[in-house]
């Protein structure tokens, strides 16, 4: 069993497709993940299931891999000490989760923006370009930079989990570039394709961070590190052009008003 615990989850699922279904039953969504290079044991650790649930999950996986054999499954060791499932973030993590809210408000509006979008009109092109500016200024420079330059440095950046998150950031930048190029060419199809792909990417990315990555990080950070992170995030906030952030906030608010979209709280 040890060899499968140390195998990439995608490889395990490819060999034993039922394992993917079992993981899904426990709300561990590895099947649709495009990367799937996290080790099975890390996947189990990071989801922080209560002991009984984890034992049940591992027993079912073992039965799938070794049908008819009684296998003793080693308990997956955790580095952190807090096993609570309640999502109560530390102050620096709460800050990042709060920043996600504005990003989620923008990506929720994308289908309506595209529905009404006319690639030939200056107004339509302007709206999409402002959306790209929001992605670059707020989601990427302001928010992702806090993760890449500060938060991720407290962990092993070569871990599969962080590589997956960083890969999402790179893909997001690629979509932003492709959208602005498509606007220049008045290529409606290109705009729709990349804006929708960005929406899908960020929706999943934020969900992974809010529900899995940040709680796992919180369990593994010391009190001293939490204090340092909080101070460093505040330094970034203070060094950031406040007017630029306000422009991003009012952009989302205006698009919401325009499309009469209910604000996501």
């Amino acid at each position: 069993m040890e060899q499968y615990l140390n195998m990439a989850v995608k490889e395990v699922i490819t060999k034993f497709p039922e394992v993917g279904k079992i993981l899904e039953e426990y709300e561990i969504g590895c099947v649709p993940c495009g990367v799937g290079s996290c080790l099975l044991k890390d996947v189990v650790e990071i989801h922080n299931l209560p002991d009984e649930e984890e034992q049940g999950l591992m027993a079912r996986i073992a039965r799938e891999i070794y049908p008819g054999l009684e296998i003793t499954v080693p308990r997956v060791e955790r580095k952190g000490k807090n096993r609570s499932k309640e999502l109560k973030y530390s102050p620096p993590m709460k800050k990042l989760v709060d920043e996600h809210v504005l990003i989620k408000r923008w990506i929720a509006l994308i289908p309506q923006v595209l529905e009404a979008f006319n690639a030939e009109s200056t107004e339509g092109a302007q709206l999409v370009l402002e959306g790209v500016n929001f992605i670059r200024s707020y989601a990427d420079r302001f928010h992702h930079a806090k993760e890449e330059d500060i938060l991720f440095k407290y962990f092993d950046e070569n871990s599969e989990l962080l590589k997956t998150m960083l890969e999402d950031h790179v893909k997001g930048r690629g979509h932003a570039k492709a959208i602005s190029e498509a606007v220049e060419k008045k290529d409606r199809e290109g705009i729709v394709e990349h804006l929708m792909a960005y929406r899908e990417l960020l929706t999943e990315h934020i969900k992974k961070e809010d529900e899995i990555l940040y709680p796992w990080m919180d369990r593994n950070l010391s009190v001293t590190q939490v204090g340092e992170l909080f101070s460093r995030f505040i330094e970034v906030d203070e060094a950031t052009d406040r007017k630029g952030i306000e422009r991003c906030e009012s952009f989302v608010l205006e698009v919401e008003k325009k499309f009469q979209k209910e604000v996501i709280k």
Partner: protein, 156 residues
């Protein structure tokens, strides 16, 4: 007094009945205290050992209930102790905690309290000080049971 009557903070409980404690490892436990004084009325919030520190504000009783107090909580931190039930002049406490945030620029504050309801007053004092402070700092509340178990650890 009936042992089930009265305030939970002063109700009599005898833990000797059915005692099945694990023996603590033999040998001398090193103290992790790195300052004096420790009582909140006596300390200066701007003392050098509070500057940029991770500070532990502990209800008096915690030090006796929590067996691993020195190794698990006090190690690496600067300390102050207080009793939110019996201490006089607690408005001074709010000012001192605020001064930790603003003047000593502490890194974090961990408030360690007992499970009895009156102990929550110490967390309230920290929250009041934080609400009135221009500088924000992560504050954690840790609740300890009468027999020294950690009941909860939460950022407030």
């Amino acid at each position: 007094m009936n042992e089930f009557a009265g305030c939970p903070g002063s109700r009599m409980v005898d833990f000797r009945k059915g005692e099945t404690r694990e023996e603590a490892p033999l040998g001398k436990v090193q103290s992790q205290l790195r300052q004096w004084p420790v009582q909140l009325h006596l300390v200066s919030p701007t003392a050098p050992y509070y500057q940029g520190a991770d500070v532990l504000l502990t209800a008096d009783c915690v030090g006796y209930a929590l067996g691993s107090f020195h190794t698990d909580y006090l190690k690496g931190k600067s300390l102050a102790i207080a009793c939110p039930k019996l201490d006089q002049g607690q408005e001074v406490y709010t000012g001192k905690i605020k001064s930790w945030f603003e003047d000593a620029k502490i890194n974090t504050l961990t408030v360690l309290i007992m499970q009895v309801p009156c102990c929550m007053g110490l967390v309230d004092l920290a929250q009041q000080a934080l609400a009135g402070s221009k500088r924000k700092v992560p504050v954690k509340a840790v609740v300890v049971s009468l027999q020294g178990e950690i009941l909860s650890e939460k950022w407030v």
